[in-house]
């Protein structure tokens, strides 16, 4: 039996369209699950239904096999980290972190001990007397985490906890959260729209769009074998390049070059997908791209351009100079190619010969 079971969960706000329809998902004890999707995909709503902050319109939520639908938040053994920290502005860091325990009637001495311990783990010892308004964003984020971990719950829910931090701090906090998760071995559901967070932290990523699961898998599976074009273009910065193939007489053409597939797909209309880092400049290649924009990130350089009007990006490891409007040839690693059905947008299992 899995720790958390969502069975045919529905969510509908009064007189509005359904946000979530017949959603099924099981989450194993100890897993770090990331709900990833664009804003409005229903990921936060799901999290809030698990926390008990949002009513479940229909369906069943089980934790440890017990129905939770009508339990108020405080009767679920769940600690939540909110997007905007949601710290109590009029309480010191120590009081903020201890509030959940105080509400559960824990002895003052024990609260103090637990808060001190958590503060040590999170480097907050010097800030226990400060108020949230006097802390930096990163410190506030740590207090929000601390408030959750002192509770020692069975389940941790995190709603875009790093979205208000800058890139450097996000990188640091990602590592801290992963380390914390390993130490506490607590089941964690983490909601984000940031695929870097999902890729680096998750045991399992659940990719959502319009309330539906697009793909469930490890970060590697999701990145390397996206199950549909939405996942292919949502995961990866820059995203996977997608070019519709032409089909004449049972043969597939990428622009003017024939692609020889191992598999016989009949005349199924296909889209060709390749990640920028699996494409390279090869002026002998038949696929031509007109350069529009060079993006030099220091460690990497991306060459953006148009392949017959379709946007295409490749990562270039050379030191060559490219001019805007220059035409360059594009090669790619055959093993890394993905194919999708043009109509259903779902992945098609097919391989190139070469």
């Amino acid at each position: 039996m899995d720790l958390i079971e969502l069975k045919r969960i529905n969510k509908q706000y009064e007189n509005k369209e359904k946000v979530i329809e017949d959603f099924d998902l099981n989450i194993k004890k100890g897993d770090f699950t990331v709900f990833l999707g664009p804003s409005g995909c229903g990921k936060s709503t799901l999290l809030r239904m698990i926390a008990g902050l949002e009513k479940i319109s229909a369906g069943e939520l089980l934790i440890n096999g017990e129905l939770q639908n009508d339990l108020p938040p405080k009767e679920r053994n769940i600690a939540m980290v909110f997007q905007n920290y949601a710290l109590y502005p009029h309480m010191s860091v120590e009081k903020n972190m201890g509030f959940g325990l105080k509400m559960r009637g824990i002895d003052k001495q024990i609260i103090k001990q637990k808060v001190t311990d958590a503060a040590k783990i999170l480097n907050l010892t010097d800030y226990l007397d400060k108020f949230p308004g006097n802390l930096s964003g990163g410190q506030q984020q740590r207090v929000a985490l601390g408030r959750a971990i002192v509770r020692e719950s069975e389940i941790y829910l995190m709603d875009e906890p790093l979205s208000n931090l800058d890139a450097k701090l996000r990188a640091v906090m990602r590592e801290e959260i992963v380390t914390l998760h390993k130490q506490m071995a607590a089941t964690t559901i983490y909601v984000t729209h940031d695929q870097t967070e999902a890729m680096t932290m998750a045991d399992r990523i659940v990719i959502l769009n319009h309330g539906d699961i697009q793909q469930i898998g490890t970060p590697k599976e999701v990145y390397q074998r996206p199950q549909n074009m939405f996942v292919a273009s949502f995961i990866g910065i820059p995203p996977m390049n997608l070019i519709p193939l032409k089909n004449h007489d049972g043969k597939y053409y990428l622009e003017n070059a024939e692609l020889s597939l191992k598999d016989d797909l009949g005349n199924q209309p296909l889209v060709f997908g390749i990640r920028p880092e699996d494409a390279f400049v090869d002026n002998a290649a038949p696929l031509k791209m007109k350069v529009t924009y060079i993006e030099d990130m220091g460690a990497d350089r991306y060459v953006h351009g148009l392949v017959n009007g379709t946007k295409f990006t490749l990562r270039d490891g050379s030191n060559n100079d490219y001019q805007v409007d220059q035409e360059i040839g594009v090669g790619f690693t055959a093993q890394q190619v993905s194919f999708f059905d043009q109509v259903s947008t779902n992945r098609v299992e097919a391989n190139l010969w070469k």
Partner: protein, 278 residues
Amino acid sequence: MKKVQKIQGWALFIILLIIGLLMVYPMIWMLVSSVKSANEILNQPLQLIPRSFHFDNFTNALKAAPFMQWLWNSAWTTVVIVFMQLFFSSLIAYALTQFKFMGRNVLFAIILATYMLPSATTYIPSYVILGKMHLINSLIGLVISNLANVFVIFLLRQSFMSVPKGIIEAARSDGASEWTILWQIVVPMNKNAVLNATLIGFITNFNGYLWPSLLLNDTKKQVISVGLNSFSNTQGAFDQTFPIIMAGTTIAVVPLIIVYVILQKYFVQSSKTSSIKG
């Protein structure tokens, strides 16, 4: 250039100081008059510095009427009323902002309607009801008839609306009951509005005149505002007793000055903080 700006700064300062002085002028006038002689007030009403100081106006005033009793009556009823109003209004404002229930808007519309009524229209029914409770001519009756104040509800509701939903939810998932959330989270977070309401409530009730003058008859049971007025009216020749009336008024204002000194720091401070944060 720098010098010009400094001069402009001074000019603004002086202009605004003059406005300020004009505003505070009546208070100074009252204080000054309370130590003037009757003749001086009548002959040179706008003169600020008294020719001679007549502090005996105060002892005369205290001898002429039970000012201390009146002050005490006003003080304790005001404190109890303000406390109860804050308590009940917080409850209603919390329900209006944090719960979703049928008729929420209807209830608020009714509160708003009540707020707009001249309070005079409530005097007669209130009088009738208090009469049935045998609370006419009683300070308890004064307190009971002031337990709810729609303006305070209105003020707190507008302020409670700005509490981020996330904080309420954090408290709920931290295990706090609605009661705890109200008193330990929402009220402290709206300290500003609560202090505003305290100040307004204190002033309105302490300075309130019409309703207590209708409700209370005994001299001993008078509140200071009514007592002071009846004292002025019964002192006979206005021109001769004017300094004593002013001395009585000054005594009546003392609790307001105390509340001012306590609260002033906070309100002015809050302006400082916000100007730094920007």
